[in-house]
């Protein structure tokens, strides 16, 4: 049932690096374990061949949320429960707090990590749309050094990222928040608790004198992986804040999603829901501004 992997528990980044240096194929980082452990039980081919498991929960440096020159650094062993309770995140990155609160149950949020969520890179990963609109990047270490890359480049395909076998993500880096952004996160599941996203959306908008000055939008679950829509963002910067603009944004998002996914059995349902939800989100959060 549970494979007979070798279990490692480094206490420091240096120890982690030296273990990573010795790793062969089929090694995996263990943080929350909420994907890996049930993956063993379900005989998922993604996990059953694991021969080395490196538990990063005892590395104090990875168990921290820091504010460095306005940037927020989130360690890769930080759980969703810790994100939800963090005041810095609540104040400056509320979409991430909201998304975290919709993940699984208390039991899952007490174990599952934000970094594990996007390293697993399921299409429904709830942390991804907020992190994308906040322009998050990540720090990856290996025995040979470290690299920083934007999250949207790190995510390649469903369940596939740029992470190599002797690498470990150590940190999420979120740039200093812009206080004049208004935004929201929306998740639709088949039930209200312990649900897997069918549709998720995150957006941020900066309005000035009733015109859109900056706009960021990302999806999850409706696209094969979480995705930013830069074309839509650019097309609507400079447009006047109005119901017509919101409708146009929502309908354009639907077209782009359809372009990405092609027609599916669920399209008849999901497409109008996505469009209506985005329209409502924009009206609810930004609409009041246009009076």
């Amino acid at each position: 049932m549970i494979p007979q992997f070798k279990y490692y528990r480094p206490k420091s980044i240096n120890e982690l690096k030296s273990i990573l240096g010795d790793m062969q194929d089929n090694s995996r980082i263990l943080a929350g374990g909420t994907d890996i452990v049930p993956g063993f039980i379900q005989q998922s081919s993604r996990f059953t061949s694991i021969t080395n498991l490196i538990d990063i929960n005892c590395i104090a440096d990875l168990k921290a949320i820091k504010n460095v020159d306005g940037q927020v650094l989130i360690g890769s062993a930080i759980t969703f429960a810790e994100i939800m309770k963090n005041e810095l995140i609540q104040t400056h990155f509320p979409l991430l707090t909201k998304a975290a609160s919709t993940v699984g149950s208390i039991q899952i949020r007490n174990r599952a990590t934000v970094v594990g969520n996007f390293v697993n890179n399921a299409p429904c990963a709830d942390s991804v749309p907020p992190l994308l609109v906040y322009d998050a990047s990540i720090k990856i270490i290996s025995p040979n050094g470290e690299r920083n890359i934007p999250l949207n480049e790190f995510l390649l395909n469903p369940y596939e990222t740029q992470l190599k076998k002797n690498e470990c993500v150590t940190e999420i880096i979120i740039p200093a928040p812009k206080e004049n952004f208004i935004g929201d996160f929306y998740k639709l599941g088949r039930r209200s608790a312990v649900s897997i996203s069918r549709i998720s959306l995150a957006f941020l908008m900066h309005e000035e004198n009733k015109f859109i000055k900056e706009f960021k939008i990302a999806s999850g679950a409706i696209t094969p992986i979480g995705k930013r829509f830069y074309e839509i963002e650019n097309a609507f910067v400079g447009k006047e804040i109005s119901s017509e603009t919101f409708m146009e944004i929502a309908s354009t998002l639907g077209e782009k999603v359809l372009e990405t996914t092609g027609l599916r059995w669920s399209t008849d349902y999901k497409l109008p829901v996505v469009q209506q939800m985005l329209y409502q989100l924009l009206e609810r959060n930004v609409g009041g501004i246009s009076g």
Binding site: I2, Y7, V37, P38, N57, G104, I106
Partner: protein
């Protein structure tokens, strides 16, 4: 690998000869069969136990991961032969039918009390979000937890 942890207040040493989950360690090695295995994938909450003060699904935790931790299972709630007030209220309000979800429900409620001794009804509902009951229904369970808060 030898793991050293506290189970229901008692220091315990276990020599793990093979990889297993926390739930297997509890049920098979320590014979603490109060913790139930339902879905095995973290959805039903029947296997909920407390690790370092937090409710977790013991089917999602590896036995190695509780080394140097403090673990509480449903067997740790009663004092000797006397059931805790929370357990007594589950009986009093009929919050048990088949009983399979009960240990998990109790542990989720207990974890909530550790963090917040006077939770609101909404906080109680959130606390048992990850615990499925398919027979009693949630009303008597919420009633039992609410009554433990108010001391009724």
């Amino acid at each position: 690998m030898i793991i050293n942890f506290k189970i229901n207040g008692k220091e315990t040493l276990i020599n793990l000869t093979k990889n297993k989950r926390l739930i297997d360690l509890l049920r098979d090695d320590l014979k603490l069969t109060g913790t139930k295995e339902g879905c095995s994938i973290g959805e039903c909450g029947a296997c909920t136990v407390i690790v370092n003060g937090k409710a977790v699904n013991s089917c999602l935790v590896l036995a190695q991961q509780v080394d140097e931790c403090d673990v509480i299972t449903v067997e740790g709630l009663a004092e000797g032969n006397k059931l805790s007030e929370l357990q007594q209220n589950f009986l009093k309000y009929g919050a048990i039918q088949c009983g399979f979800c009960t240990p998990g429900m109790l542990m989720s409620a207990y974890a909530l009390f550790l963090e917040n001794p006077t939770p609101s009804r909404e906080e109680i509902e959130t606390a048992i979000e990850g615990n499925l009951c398919r027979c009693t229904g949630y009303k008597p369970i919420i009633q039992a937890i609410t009554s433990t808060v108010s001391g009724e």
